[in-house]
Amino acid sequence: APSVIKIGTLYAGSGNFSQASTRQYAGLQFWADQVNAKGGVYVKAYGKRIPVKLIAYNDQSSTTLAASLYNRLITQDRVHILIADYGSVLTSVAIPLAREHRILLFDETGTSGKFFRPADKNRYIVLTGLPTSSEWPKVLANFMRKLGIQRVAILYAANDWSGSQANTLKSTLKKLGADVVFFESVPDSTSSYSTILHRIAEAKPEAVAEFGYSNNDVAFLQDYASSGLYFPMLFVPNPALHFEVVRKAVGNAAMRYVYSYVAPPLIRYNREVTHGPTLDAFEAAYTKSGGRNIDLSTVAGYNTGLIVQHALAKAAKYTQESMRTAIDAFSGKIFTLDGLFKVNHEGAQIGESLPVGQILPTPSGLKLQAVFPVESAAAKYVYPQPRKP
Amino acid sequence: MSPEAPILEVEGLKKHFGGLKALDGVSFSIHPGEILGLAGPNGSGKTTCINAISGVFRVDGGQIRYLGQPIQHLPAYRRVRHGINRTFQVPRPFLGLTVLENVMVAATYRGGRNVNPRHILEDIGLAEHADRPARSLNSSQQKMLGLARALATHPRLLLVDEIGAGLNPVELSSMAERLRSYAEQGMALLVVEHLMDFLDRVTDRLLVMDAGNTLFSGKLQQATEDSRVIEAFLGG
């Protein structure tokens, strides 16, 4: 038996993805510290606990550098577990490498649909957290129809993640009989939305959905707040991922009544959890250990650790193939603080869906609360949103 | 006058920069083996004239005929290959290359096998500096290097822009000697200069320009007595 289990991963210490990536890495680190405090993870193949050793390099948000660092983890550090960096862009380069070297890639948040095409027959990837991004807006489309919204404007930043959400929303809405009265992309780097907002207003939509990275969302919300324009419904995705960051950047006034997805930790899976701590317990332990406030990235990082842990505990042999088989076996049967873990044959996550939430005032401030579908609703939505004074 | 056909004929040359007419219809011709002096007050268009003939820019009007053929549409390097070259009033050497390499560029691209860059440098008195970077020459040495480079292309028509400025009397007379010897070998020269003594020693045919126009054309002797030339150029 090995004396330690080497787990390799990357994080972006600087650059575009550093905000989410460092949080995600912190979550994973927290998991590693926790299991090591108990003497390591239980490895079924050897019938005992073995300590884990996290080997992590800084890719500075550069894909070129990330590729060579992934390669290093595989070929030189010879890690047994390979965990991707945050997001699709930094995950993308790991996929062919992992496949080539027959090592299972634990994909934390690389949700691009293109990573999981049946045609590729790639078994060396497992998406541990969210569903693929093109699944996300389906609930949103239903919600809009339920509100009786007919005219929808969709604006998205030109990147894979945002674009696939925008396209799904558009096609689902059309199927449901709504009109997409505005559908435009802006370059990723767009930081000013005032004129675009005025153009959207010309189309007279009842709902506006903007998909982008958090800098896009922040600029969009800021510009909306100071534009003097009014739309009955406004949707942006990033409060779901890092609510506090967006709130701090935008300010409470501009956040009120905005819709977003709801994902852990904003949905709190406590009672349902079968594996690992409940979200409340995790949050308490994490902040006690000196961590910052938690967000989806933190949870995703920690959750990946849990899945790895469970795979090792179930795999009959200490091999990649055996781990993958074990994962298939417990897929759909375990529930963590991140929700139901269920992957399909290609490794894509299908267990979770993302409810729609709205940022509502509460006595203690603002809260993003699930409002649809009904079974997960925690509050009553406010539609149309009140006009600003 | 030389019995042969002129090597260069310039007719009604025009060039303007914005609103400024730097050349306003200048005409003259030069025969092989002949030296034409070109003088005129500062800013009268002498250098512009050389620029036009050597192809630094396209002219706005008029004709330049070389060996009977119009050449005003040819790019500079083609004119060089046909045998026209010039020196620069403000020297423009290849600063980062050595003195020898400076001449070598010209020798390899136009001069052909029978040009030996070292011989040219010896002839012009720069041989001892051959391996120094051109950057380390002072401006008059750089001017001489410019002449060497022009010579390396085997010019049949050489346009010399104020090569005498900054030379002392002894150096001036040896330069005059040198230019005359080129002419004796059949080269045609246009020599721009302010120093009348120097011009006097290289030629007796003179063109004086003023404000882009020909002010005077004829014998140098007469020029020094011409009241308009005295007024505009020589000073009372």
């Binding site: 600087s14 905000q19 005032s194 958090s214 800098n215 896009n216 969009f220 100071s226 006034a253 | -």
Partner: protein, 293 residues
């Protein structure tokens, strides 16, 4: 057609702001022939300054203006003496500055990550009174109007410095002919150091308003801004601070009009515009053609 008018006026506000973003870069390039690849990073530092003044001290970000002008001028002088004289002793300072300031920008960004973390931050636009401002029948964010106004004041001050003070005249003299300035008795280093300080202080000044103009700030925002600044100063022509105003406004107008009418191509168009302008006027809109022989 009101969308068009909206975009034109928005372009003007935006453009004035961008003129301020670029003007310091142009000043530094003009005086020192230095390509300051860290320009955007100084802007980023200025942005965080405003951020903390607002969030920690609870002051209006406008207070950052006097504070940062002093701090960044003070920072510029020692930085100049530390970097530039050494650089100018080398063979090709203009090109080497490219690497030097690339390195510096890396250092600044890294330190910023340590100091500020890499979360995106911003300041609510409501600090300037919140209510949008009505101009010519259109409604504009008050923060835009304030930013444009401050930018205009900043540029006018730089103009006054350059054209109506003795040190400013010396600065222009160095810009046009460094060697001649030396023999005229100008303390080239002292004047350049001040210009360097003004250059980065103006970047910091622009940074104060970047949370409103760019939505959010983060340590890695620098490079993109540096690139945009270069586009702007080249459009107007290098070494000509007035040209930068023109470049900034053209940039702002191009961006806003494209965002209005051809949204997905909006970020591309300013680059195409730059190339077109340079092909017609190779040394920028206000550039003078130099004599080649």
């Amino acid at each position: 057609m009101s969308l068009f008018e909206y975009a034109v006026l928005a372009g003007l506000f935006y453009g004035l702001y961008f003129a301020l973003v670029g003007v310091g870069l142009n000043l530094i390039f003009g005086v020192m022939r230095i390509i300051n690849l860290a320009h955007g990073d100084f802007l980023m530092l200025g942005a965080y300054g405003a951020f903390y003044i607002y969030h920690l001290l609870g002051w209006n970000p406008l207070w950052a203006i006097p504070i940062e002008l002093v701090v960044f001028l003070g920072l510029g002088l020692p930085l100049y003496y530390l970097l530039v004289p050494r650089l100018q002793k080398s063979g090709d300072p203009e090109m080497l500055s490219f690497i030097l300031f690339f390195g510096l920008s890396q250092v600044i960004e890294a330190l910023a990550v340590f100091a500020f973390g890499n979360d995106q931050r911003s300041i609510p636009t409501s600090v300037f009174g919140g209510a949008p401002i009505h101009i010519a029948g259109q409604i504009y964010p008050s923060s835009w109007v304030v930013s444009a106004a401050v930018a205009l004041i900043g540029i006018v001050l730089i103009y006054l410095y350059l054209y109506h003070t003795r040190a400013g005249r010396a600065t222009r003299a160095i810009m046009t002919e460094r060697s001649e300035a030396v023999v005229t008795g100008i303390s080239v280093h002292r004047v350049s150091a001040v210009a360097f300080g003004i250059g980065i202080a103006s970047a910091a000044l622009a940074g104060i308003f970047s949370p409103f103009m760019f939505g959010a700030i983060e340590p890695s925002m620098g490079l993109g801004i540096t690139v945009t600044s270069f586009v702007i100063i080249v459009i107007g022509s290098l070494g000509n601070p007035l040209g930068t105003v023109l470049g900034g406004i053209l940039y702002g107008e191009a961006l806003m009009l494209m965002q209005t009418f051809l949204t997905s191509w909006s970020e591309m168009f300013p680059y195409v515009l730059l190339i077109l302008i340079l092909l017609v006027k190779p040394s920028g809109l206000l550039g003078k053609a130099v004599r080649s022989a």
